[in-house]
Subunit: 301 residues, 4 copies
């Protein structure tokens, strides 16, 4: 399956007691399908993958792959303290039906070691590897030259780019690879329009109104760049607000709960909870940009 | 003079050869006065203060104080490797006519040492001290309890808050100080509306269309909160774009050059230059939100 | 079993091809028993645990527990990206016969979150928990007050202390806990004598001549403090040299290979290999302090 | 004047009230001359240069240059937040009679920007530049290739190397420069013998018994390598102990006070004070290695 378009990175639903909530997870997949997304990504940083046990990660993959039913690609996150653990996770994901794996770097900051890490994981599986370039969470910076070397040697057909200023890096990496690498944006969607204009294949981010991102993508790829910009601008105040560091996950889980998808907005520790003032602020803003906290997918024109 | 409202942090203009450009600096002050700002802040991180020699910093202060002519407060940045150097800078600023000093923390991360640092600088001068809380640039995090202790003990009447998620911290600090501390937002203006709604006194940031921030502030404090929100939302796509890490200074110097204020957009190394694609992208976006790259101050309704 | 004395943290032997080498691992246990150690610690940072797959970690535990045969305690390292993963590892270790688990912190730097992490792991198992305080490798600092709270609440009966200056912290933590917490030194043995003098229970470190540490411990606890100091001083040039950052593991694997314990000195990437000059330097120094690179355990007087 | 041999980096003496203590500083120079050092280095990290005001730094330079009276080289530390400030400091040092300047890097981590920084400072003065490579204090790592480029282009005739494992880096840098760069060790003297064996010109560190370092250097350069090793090994327990992070400065100031050189052991905040247990531990160790806390310079055989 071809990777492109809008691929929401999904939060993992828990019960109020902190247990995996399979029914909510299934509703989340149904919701994404209804929103018209081009794929879903699970077990990333937003998905609290680092807070799950191995058995839980397996359950999440199984549930999502089954529910998606082959209709859309399922990207699975891989993050471990070393290469052997990453290979173990990547192979397990492939065996459970993942369409692709998006892979975090390992410490320390060392170009050659990072090259070998991604190469080893790529070689260990048959599904495509997406390099996850997210220094804010992983503490590791991937030089454009390193990314290009991985892409040009065939180990990194895709990258999810979240190293600000992300637009300059996007253009630089495409230049170094003659456009060979497929780039997905992230960062909450804050630069989605410009990413598309600079040649990105799509986006993989957690904005909890995925239908907005789908509309932007459809307008843009349908040739209506002005319309895409109008949609982008209209929802920008919310995109910006929702993407705040640390508290963003609480916003997203709250939205999915209010939209009838999640039973609980529980976050496993450590994590920042939603206070009352921020909850109201968020809900007022959602109304201000013209969206509603309802189960139905909005029609975005 | 009372501190409040919109206080742009000013970039320092250089000639193409990298020398201080006094004429451009004077035009910048004239421009800010025409834009109706409530104060100006100089020699911050955006002002490349860390790239200036001591004699140059003195010249910048003298120029700005003279040109402002007492019409508005002049905040002067203080950042040194230790307390003695910070006191030296703060006293020099006061002697040259600064209205207030905004002061960076020193390493290492240690609450008691940071308390003593800010206290020592506050005691060494008569002008008010603004704590500058900006972990992204200084690498030091200021706990709300530390800020509250400084405020409650009388050493920090103001804070410029740029530690995301900034809104929760703003409310927390105001709670811990019974609203005693005056809070100014920053972060390019990305949260200006919510900061005002949560009780901020104003903003101190580098957005290069200060008239937009002035309009939001006037609407909000004039009781037209809906109007303030409309203005904020309209310009958000630009506010977001301009505030990108590392490249933001290049955007701002380019805008001031195109608006006829700066002769050159030169940045002293190390610093990220503006590439052609980003320049066009910026200019198109400025047009898209309805602004023009002209010397005149826009009327924002 | 009581934890005390010299508990070498063991490197994990690989074949030249990078596979787990069980025979070498068994010889390593025999060697430690012959050296008279009081326990062994496996799957720590030095043991390259972060470079092992889960199945390999299981094999290492099984091999060591079986070979130690209950003669000495076997400490097992636990390090994961989050609490659920740490609990999973700790329970597996317990099920496989671990005497105790030594547990790394999780990001981010946050006292309350760290308290909850260690508490949750302690509650999940019946074997005692040793807090592993090693900022140089884990990037997290554990405040003495946090350690004391964990100890006083019964969740941390032991700590392995490697946060320099380690001696002041050792005394501070013992003071805050009325000596309730059992402290083990580390850092290659560089402060072993002073640690014992300040009340440490013993040491858990990777110095590849464990008989030297055993001799110091026996002399000290036997009342011959002057003798312990003489032994400590005699071997200090080697202790210092072997403990160099990044290259220390290569020194230790080389020594175990030359002593007939390991078949190969292979290190999994990323890791620093031994160059020729450093190899000679090490071997000359070993001779200079009066040791030999032979299979037999030295008699240290 | 040729740079080589033992060049102690000097702590800056204060009165108990925290003022510069000129008389103690002069005694310190006399003491170093009596100890037979080959040069002195002032205003480094150990010298608390970052805690001094500019006027104080000037006084320190004037005092030391005058007291040294041209008998030995005086190295002066340069550390600023940016290049312009570093040039200002370097020129001031040269004007006041410095023999050489040792220069810290600036943030951020960027090879090209670091190259330009050191080159600009080197070009701004006539005295030789010593690159100060000390990641533990400056947070910046200098790649061997960057150092070699600076040396091969004539901008860095010397380097003070304190990036562990320092010995491998020393050999690598000499290889990349054909031995063109003069290397000085540091790190408290912990690797002084091996540094000399690998071709270092000497050392620049703060060990407060400089006569020991002088003896090692004289023995080594006089052809008595075995004698140098004996001396090195004898004092290693103290060298190791004194060099502990954070508390090392307190040890050194205490020693100079007890040796009759400093009137006070005061450290400006932030800094770690000497507790009673550590003081006794230090003094016992000094006696154990055969040294006395007396004003006279020891004869080291």
């Amino acid at each position: 399956m071809d990777l492109h378009g809008v691929n929401p990175i999904l939060p993992t639903p828990f019960t109020d007691g902190g247990e995996l909530d399979i029914a909510s997870l299934e509703r989340l997949i149904d919701f994404q399908l209804a929103a018209g997304v081009d794929g879903v990504a699970i077990l990333g940083f937003l998905g609290e993958a680092h807070k799950l046990a191995e058995a839980e990660r397996r359950t999440v993959i199984e549930t999502v792959v089954a529910r998606a039913g082959g209709a859309i690609p399922v990207w699975v996150g891989v993050r471990a303290l070393g290469t052997a653990g990453a290979i173990e996770q990547a192979r397990a994901a492939q065996a459970l039906g993942a369409t692709a794996v998006f892979v975090a770097p390992i410490a320390p900051q060392n170009d050659q070691a990072l090259y070998e890490h991604f190469r080893a994981v790529a070689r260990a599986v048959d599904v495509p590897l997406i390099v996850h370039d997210y220094p804010a969470s992983f503490g590791i910076t991937l030089a454009p030259e390193l990314v290009a070397r991985l892409a040009n040697d065939g180990y990194a057909p895709y990258i999810k780019l979240e190293d600000p200023p992300v637009l300059s890096k996007l253009s630089r990496i495409r230049e170094l690879t003659d456009g060979k690498i497929g780039v997905f944006g992230g960062l909450g969607g804050e630069y989605f329009l410009e990413e598309l204009q600079r040649g990105a294949l799509g986006i993989m981010t957690g904005f909890a109104f995925p239908e907005v991102l789908v509309a932007i993508y459809r307008q843009f790829t349908g040739g209506d760049e002005a319309g895409a910009a109008r949609t982008f601008d209209q929802y920008m105040p919310l995109i910006r607000y929702e993407f705040q560091p640390k508290i963003g996950l609480a916003f997203r889980k709250h939205i999915y709960q209010r939209r009838g998808v999640f039973d609980s907005a529980h976050i496993r520790p450590p994590g920042m909870a939603l206070d009352e003032v921020s909850r109201e602020e968020l809900e007022n803003l959602i109304a201000r940009v013209g969206l509603r906290l309802e189960p139905t997918v909005h029609e975005i024109r």
